[in-house]
């Protein structure tokens, strides 16, 4: 494509943002699907753990692994160090397993899936048919002429509904399936890697997840393979009072490459729902993984009623030399966010990057950031965090950069910017830096600013209304991170930024 159309595209993207602001009143994914569900009894105990394992037809070793986690979990206490205020969670007042009745017998192909479920994803804009995603709004350079395809694994409450493009991925040797299927079909890989990045006893929420996770996605990219399409998982919490505990395991073998996208939404409910996921990524020699998230769980209403409690452990292990991982996250939803996607830079010359936009509006609270653990020599990491607070929200960046004694000649660069809208919100930056050798270098830059009245007036004098003006200025503030996202996600994220800030001015 020529430069002309390239520019067209960028302009189109921004117009969508503006239209989104104008056309959408509030959280647009707040509807629910009426569908008959099978629930496990409320609460968690060893029987529930066994039941979940049984529902997934798991082998004995997996059941034992879960039980071991459960027994540890009951001895642990919930961490309280984050800058988050929420009422005590009653872990026995949740459903730990909810499955649409129609999924009792796992459909063999997408054709057999309950049309109601397919319709749910269609309404969310997630294509479960193996169709081309149209190229009309596509970035010029990367897209093939016939458009870009994305394989999707759709998780509805506790189960994976279906995975697209499996056959084609299999031809390239890529395994992309639900984790429950992987446990049955690829036990060697799962045994070798599950819990190897986030150990069972890593933290309270990860341990609970290890005991009760119901489904999630599994990816294995073999040696030297560049995954032929982007992979994505779309999580939807539908059932009431149900926690979602998904587990994702991604393994990039030597010299391979994969880009993975994750999206999440939930209906509007006035009770809080628990989400405690674990994502583990293993990156071997010369391999590269990009993991992008647009998290848009229901944030609760303006008064702070309802919304998802999001306690997530995400970690990538650059296990061998020159491994590379890049986390990009756009966090706009959830009442509570507790999330620190991290990189263990074990291999020499391995690289970790973390790009984050965290928006907290109304009564939302976000405590999010990253950990860069430099263990290998000549390792590099880069952190770019953009936090936006509006309404009465509290937004905390919490980050750890560690240079171990062996991690000589390593480097970290951290840029941490906070933007405040209004005068009742808060932005906090809590960086921890530990350097245990003399040849490494760590840089930390942080800024806090308010949306500038002069900027808003300038935009308004040119004809934009106040919300349009704020959306434009904030999108500019986030640009570096938005550019790190794959094109489809970048557009969604831009609109989200605008929508999340609805009502934050005036």
């Amino acid at each position: 494509m020529t430069a002309t159309t390239d520019l067209d595209v960028r302009e189109g993207v921004d117009r969508e943002t503006v239209e989104a602001v104008q056309s959408i009143g509030s959280y647009k994914y707040g509807w629910d699907t009426e569908i008959e569900m099978d629930y496990a009894p409320k609460g968690v105990n060893e029987d529930i753990v066994r039941l979940i394992s049984e529902k997934n037809n798991e082998p004995e070793w997996m059941t034992e692994w879960r039980l071991e986690a459960y027994r540890r979990w009951v001895t642990m206490t919930e961490p309280k160090w984050a800058m988050l205020n929420y009422p005590e969670i009653d872990y026995q007042d949740q459903y730990y397993y909810a499955r649409p009745k129609s999924m009792a017998v796992k459909p063999k192909s997408l054709d057999e899936v309950d049309p109601k479920l397919l319709a749910t994803y269609e309404k969310l804009g997630i294509p479960l048919k193996e169709q081309l995603i149209l190229a009309g709004v596509e970035g010029a350079e990367a897209a093939p002429a016939d458009g870009r395809r994305v394989a999707v694994d759709a998780v509805f409450d506790s189960v994976s509904v279906g995975t697209t493009f499996k056959d084609e991925l299999a031809k390239a040797g890529v395994i992309f399936c639900s984790i429950s299927e992987a446990i049955r079909e690829h036990p060697d890989l799962v045994k070798k890697y599950l819990g190897s990045v986030v150990p069972q006893s890593d933290n309270y929420f990860a341990t609970l997840n290890s005991a009760v996770f119901s489904d999630g996605s599994f990816v294995y990219v073999p040696k030297g393979v560049k995954c032929p399409m982007e992979l994505s998982t779309y999580f939807r919490i539908n059932a009431e009072n149900t926690g979602q505990f998904e587990r994702t395991l991604i393994i990039a073998d030597k010299g391979s490459y994969v880009s993975y996208l994750e999206g999440c939404t939930a209906p509007k409910r006035d009770t809080n729902q628990l989400h405690a996921a674990v994502v583990e990524i293993v990156v071997l020699e010369d391999a590269e993984v990009k993991y992008s998230t647009v998290q848009n769980w229901f944030p609760g209403d303006e008064e702070g009623k309802g919304g998802i409690y999001n306690f997530v452990t995400k970690r990538a292990d650059c296990r061998e030399a020159r491994a590379k991982v890049m986390w990009t996250q756009v966090e706009t939803g959830s009442a509570i966010t507790w999330k620190y996607p991290s990189c263990i830079l074990r291999g020499d010359e391995s690289q970790g990057e973390f790009y984050s936009i965290a928006i907290a509006n109304n009564m939302q609270q976000a405590d999010t950031g990253t950990k860069m653990i430099h263990l290998g020599r000549n390792t590099r990491s880069r952190i770019v965090s953009k936090g936006i607070s509006a309404g009465r929200a509290q937004n905390t960046y919490r980050g750890l950069v560690t240079m171990h004694p062996r991690a000589t000649n390593s480097r970290n660069y951290t840029q941490c910017d906070s933007l405040l809208i209004g005068d009742q919100c808060g932005a906090h930056t809590v960086p921890y830096i530990e350097v245990k050798n003399t040849s490494s270098r760590v840089e930390h830059e942080a800024t806090t600013s308010k949306v500038d009245d002069d900027q808003l007036f300038y935009c308004r004098q040119r004809g934009m209304d106040e919300e349009e003006a704020v959306a434009l200025v904030v999108n500019g503030f986030c640009r570096e991170v938005l550019q790190a996202l794959p094109m489809e996600f970048a557009m969604e994220a831009q609109s989200l930024v605008a929508i999340s800030l609805e009502g934050s001015v005036g």
Partner: protein, 251 residues
Amino acid sequence: MLKIDNLHVKLEEEDKQILKGLSLEIPAGQVHAIMGPNGSGKSTLSYVLSGRDGYEVTEGSATLDGESLLDMEPEERASAGLFLAFQYPVEIPGVGNMTFLRTAVNAQRKARGEAELSSGDFLKLVRAKAAELQISPEMLKRPVNVGFSGGEKKRNEILQMAMLEPRMCIMDETDSGLDVDAMRLVSDGVNALRSPDRSFLVITHYQRLLNHIQPDVVHIMANGRIVKSGGPELALQVEQEGYGDLLAEVG
């Protein structure tokens, strides 16, 4: 077109009167210049007309084509055809100049109930207008005013003016910080926009700009009011004699 009658304005935060009964009428198609010593209230006038916060109108009126400007939001005034070329154009990091322009153009079109410009039409238009002002395609991609030189910022203001096609253009010291060549570019840009149904209010300290943009009427402003009006020769008189004699003459 623009009619200001007995306008009194004070600062919102302190008890300081800036405009003290200013009256001014600019018919369609005319260029009026306002000159005056520092602190006479020239910039305040431009901000009050465009609706910036921080000022309180205590008396008087300002209308554009008979409609009261003072009751409108800033963006409504913009869509009604009022444009302010800023003395200090504002930087907006991360927002491409092109994106900004297009968002503004379409916001105004939408407000007026017109169809939005297609990306193709917009591009063609912006490229042509930018070329006239010697604004490079590279400058169109850069974030709004970030890292622009003084001259580039002012040319960018004129580009916005050309794209938005306002009926009433206020230029607040657009000549400040411009070298001779940039001044000519900016003036040519403005002159190209002159038409029987578009008016200009040019605020300046120096007569120099008025050699390039010929005014129909020159007003001298002092202490929050227009104290004298005349033809282009009034600007020449100021240039030669300074404000001292003139102000003494009107008391």
